[in-house]
Subunit: 229 residues, 4 copies
DNA sequence: TATGAATGAGGGTTCATTCAT
DNA sequence: CATGAATGAACCCTCATTCAT
């Protein structure tokens, strides 16, 4: 007979994590109730405290679990795409799919969005363990396209501009639904969105690139005079 | 002489709205407790119920109050700036200041961000009463720059791209702080940010314009709406 | 010019008493809220405390008001009816109408019923000021019919039997409605009920009367042997 | 040997039911406070919510508990007593004891009285589950004594007259105490009362019987219902 | 005299957590 | 290991009452 697997009833823990992820994402940490979670997981009310100490412990466990799942499902392939522009496209499309596609775990990025708004210790871990790396990737792509010097602060700004365009559809999804009900978020719609964001960003970045080689002689705009031009 | 006002007109109500705004923005609707709010407002537990019916009533009142303040403080001047590019800059800078500058009420956009993530009836009102109008403004600016036909869906996408870049600093502020602690958000930093976003977006929009079949000087939506129809 | 009436704004007090009577009768003392009362009376929230000290004060005032109204509307005519049996009929019918007829003040006996179940100081006053007199009347009638000696305890029992049959339709009205939905309580139904109760009681009382003159030789029943007769 | 029961089976629940019964009977549903109940039951505030959902749930549970107790303590023996008159006596005495004797649960009929005055869903259940059956019993007895045809409405009136005499001492107990302080309610006093009410009612019913067109010995509804239809 | 804003005690309910089994 | 009954703190809300006007 084969040795029984390490933790036969780890099944309970997994169900707990899945349920907790869904509920936390749906309702937020405070509004989520343990009883809601254990009901979905068909577990006992004491199971949470038994396995994770308390509600907070379950929450952080959920985050680790989510990151693990996410990494397995979307391995970071920094060099997908042959040209920088293609890399940009792949990056944008991948991010867009991850945060909006109804794939598993669907609740991961909803949790992230919540954490961004109301950070807890979980966010620190998230930033260090994955976000920083992701940001470096897009920064690298931006650097390649713009040919800006490696530590030019504009790289950071441009990377933020790219990411901001993408995250908009997660953070402001409710507003988009209300303003433009015709906008859907099926796979093909996401890919169309990715193309737009890529084009938009590419044009901007290439404009910067064009100003680059010639060295900063380009007249920088100071902004319009405040009132009467 | 007029009779002195019955009470310092609704002093308690105003204190309540201010405190509630802060607490709701900080903790969210659920997590915010009435006791916290009335403690800050130096009011009584029952005051909320008396003036606003219940917690929910206070919440919507806070939103209306915030919108009123916001409109007084930042009157919509759709046509500030002489050229479309300047209009773009004014719009971006103004939005950035509103959502990040610590003007009064400082908590307004934090509340908005929460509503976007977890919409309630308050968001519907907000969309209809102000967001839709704001979006129309930036869409108009985009239309002028790109010379796209009025209802081209790309206008909506581009407008979203612009707004997304701005909102990023509100919604993902916590992440930005952690990734780039050197980024500050004083007035001058915001203005620098506005310049970047404007430049980035302008380049992208002008690239689109260039691809357009130079439908020559279509009437620029520029001057004030004709007064007397 | 005639002197203005004693209390011109006694109108407010009257509206207050009327409203309070209705609400107290409907919901009971505890469940009735001052705000409910003043809303119906179109009065101010402080009016109750101003005029009657507190809720309890209003309650007792309502009772006095109710008794006054009742006495005006149904003056006690102990000697209505020429024969004792007719007196019995008049008494029963009158009581039945008072407690069930939808006349003004409709809520008086509902209040009484509540007080009987959960006595307060108001009941003491009510007993001394009217119930005792009413009971003496029916006791007198019973005495006349049965020819029992004036202080025979059976008089009290019989009077209670008569009254019990009548009150049943007020106190157990809800049950009657459920058990016998066909039973209605319009004026004519009440009068039919009165005839039944009178007949029923008269037969019982006359049976006692018959046993009377012959002196207590009638075998008194001890009740059935407990199990096997 | 069986495992020892997990807990003293629902000891808390029973204490809760008993305390709740007392408090509800004393103060009524609205005025009764959960905190009062749990204090008497030496239980926790949340126990009520845990076991019964909410206050209302506890209330209906109390009613079911009371009925169960009552049925165990006073099993319905419709045919106790050999003659109809003896049956009448047994019925009256039994009802009187149940509603006034301080048997367990002492508060049951006080609750019932409250429900009759201010009905809730609990009354419906009570009517269907026990009152209707009880009323059928007394109606059957009345039918046997009066020899009225089975569905004669007078049967219902007479049964109501009997029950009304009994319930009077429950519903108007407070008035009786004030009017006739000498009336006591010990076991022997109740039995004396029962004799009076039986005699009073018997005389009335026999008078009706005498008026009946001697429809001779119609089958007396006496023996047990035939077993096998 | 009459008003309505303000108060504070206390109500029902919810919830994370613990503990004996 | 796992359970479910039990706990107590804290929440939102209601209400009679008061006070300055």
């Amino acid at each position: 007979m084969a040795v029984p697997p390490h933790h036969p009833p780890a099944a309970t823990e997994n169900r707990l994590l899945e349920s907790a992820g869904e509920v936390f994402a749906e309702k937020g940490f405070r509004a989520a109730t343990i009883r809601d979670i254990i009901r979905r997981a068909k577990a006992n009310v004491a199971a949470v405290n038994y396995h994770y100490g308390d509600k907070q412990g379950l929450y952080t466990a959920v985050f680790r679990y989510a990151r693990k799942c996410c990494e397995e499902q979307f391995p970071v392939d920094a060099d997908a795409g042959s040209t920088p522009l293609e890399q940009l496209h792949v990056f944008v499309r991948s991010l867009l799919r991850r945060i909006l596609d109804h794939g598993r775990p669907a609740w991961h990025w909803q949790l992230m969005a919540r954490e961004m708004m109301e950070p807890s210790a979980a966010l620190d871990e998230m930033v260090e363990q994955s976000i920083r790396r992701e940001f470096a990737i897009i920064a690298g792509i931006v650097e390649n396209i713009t040919r800006l010097p490696p530590h030019d602060p504009r790289i950071r700004l441009c990377a933020s501009s790219v990411i901001g365009q993408v995250l908009f559809y997660r953070h402001a999804q409710a507003v988009v639904h209300r303003l433009h009900p015709e906008q859907e978020f099926a796979r093909k719609d996401l890919d169309a969105l990715a193309i737009h964001i890529t084009d938009f960003s590419a044009a901007a970045l290439e404009a910067i690139a064009k100003r680059q080689p010639a060295k900063p002689n380009g007249r920088r705009r100071n902004g319009p005079r405040e009132k009467n031009a």
